[in-house]
């Protein structure tokens, strides 16, 4: 299952982090990514952070998607 959701890191403790989305918090493993900091957004799958969400790319994609919306 590909299901994975972006969540914000609010606390790091060695190889674990507390992440949050919409007021819900959970603990995830950081064993699969390096170089993350508090306030970074990560993609979480099956209890692990698997990739850092690139804010610049996210904003660019959102801008492109808004363009498509405006065309309709």
């Amino acid at each position: 299952m590909c299901l994975a959701i972006p969540m914000k890191i609010i606390k790091i403790n060695e190889d674990r982090a507390i992440v949050e989305i919409g007021g819900n918090q959970r603990e995830v493993g950081l064993q699969l990514i390096g170089d993350v900091r508090v306030n970074d957004y990560v993609i979480v799958h099956a209890g692990f952070a698997i990739q850092k969400l690139d804010e610049k790319e996210a904003n660019e994609t959102l801008a492109l998607l808004r363009e498509i919306e405006n065309l309709s």
Binding site: M1, C2, A4, I33, A46, L53, L65
Partner: protein, 331 residues
């Protein structure tokens, strides 16, 4: 064709087919790892569940999948220990707190999930959690793309999996484009992501210029996640593997390396597995290749429905038949 169960569900949920002109056909491929797992694995998990010294730990979408005569849910109803977990880290915790039992995690999933299982085996070895085991049935996506591209369903473009790609990066798709001239676009999961991806693939087809593109740049890097791939390589090695619908694909499955054999459920916990029986009339194999739509199966919505699934495609949360049933796609 999409090859990701989450895309299959998203496309159905957001009614994407209904927005497209008749000239564009979306096919659902073998994107659901539960659905492409042969019955034999379920029968193996059931046999393990029946041992009184075993606790099965599994993701939720596995428990209702029918094996030849039973399912993990049925075994749980009979009083056997089957625990749904959302992470291998939870399964490790169970192993820690029940030292007198063997905790067997059912390892089904593609590259998004595989690294998480690999980490659990590394942790088990490092912290000497010797009652934790994995029943490994993992498969990897690139050989399936090869098989589909060589198969007899004409495919003009692939909507490539979003989160598998966060792990594997761009390389295998660039290969597919080069070898088969079929466009590959990695897609996010929001409706506009998917529409933008389809628009790219249609544009490529119109200009006869198949290419690789990444629509999901916010999550997928060209190199993927090398750290995740490294831990997969540490724990697992490739082997030939049987995919429901596609047959045996070379080097498309993973097995646990000898260094981690002490945590390999298949090697360490002997069970008698009943002979595999395929359900009569089930067309999961053809559905998984995009050859048949779910509503073209005579069992769909009748003998086979979410309450009483015959095949994995109906029961898995990301199965093609489940998506078509839930969102009432009948044509």
């Amino acid at each position: 064709m999409e090859v990701c169960g989450t895309h299959t569900m998203a496309i159905a949920r957001y009614g994407i087919r209904g927005l497209l002109p008749d000239t564009i056909h979306l096919l659902s491929g073998p994107g659901c790892p539960v659905c492409v797992t042969p019955h034999h694995l379920i029968d193996h998990a059931v046999a393990l569940a029946r041992r009184n010294d075993v606790i099965i730990a599994t993701f939720g979408d596995m428990i209702k999948v029918p094996g030849s005569t039973s399912s993990l849910e049925a075994e749980r109803a009979r009083g056997h220990a089957v625990q749904v977990v959302s992470s291998t880290l939870d399964a490790l915790k169970i192993a820690d707190t029940t030292p007198d039992k063997k905790i067997v995690f059912i390892g089904v999933g593609f590259e998004t999930t595989i690294p998480t299982v690999a980490v659990s085996l590394v942790e088990a070895r490092t912290h000497h959690v010797n009652n934790y085991y994995v029943l490994c049935a993992h498969k990897v996506i690139p050989p399936a793309l090869d098989a589909l591209s060589q198969g007899d369903v004409a495919i003009d473009g692939y909507i490539c999996p979003g989160h598998v790609s966060t792990i594997i990066g761009y390389e295998c798709y660039e290969s597919i484009v080069k070898q088969y001239g079929i466009g590959c676009v990695i897609s996010g999961f929001e409706p506009l992501d998917i529409l933008q991806t389809i628009q790219s693939l249609v544009s490529q087809k119109k200009n006869n210029k198949p290419a690789f593109e990444n629509q999901y740049t916010r999550a997928v890097k060209p190199e993927g996640n090398p750290q995740a791939r490294s831990v997969i390589h540490t724990v697992f090695e490739p082997e030939d593997s049987e995919w429901r619908g596609l047959g045996i694909l070379p080097m498309s499955g993973l097995k646990i390396r000898p260094e981690f054999q002490s945590w390999d459920a298949a090697a360490q916990i002997p069970v008698d597995i009943e002979p595999t029986v395929e359900p009569a009339g089930c067309l999961c194999g053809d559905v998984l290749q995009g050859k048949v739509k779910p509503f073209e199966c005579s069992l769909f919505g009748r003998a086979c429905n979410p309450d009483h699934p015959v095949g994995a495609c109906m029961v898995s949360s990301e199965g093609t038949c489940a998506a078509y049933y839930r969102y009432n796609i009948r044509s």
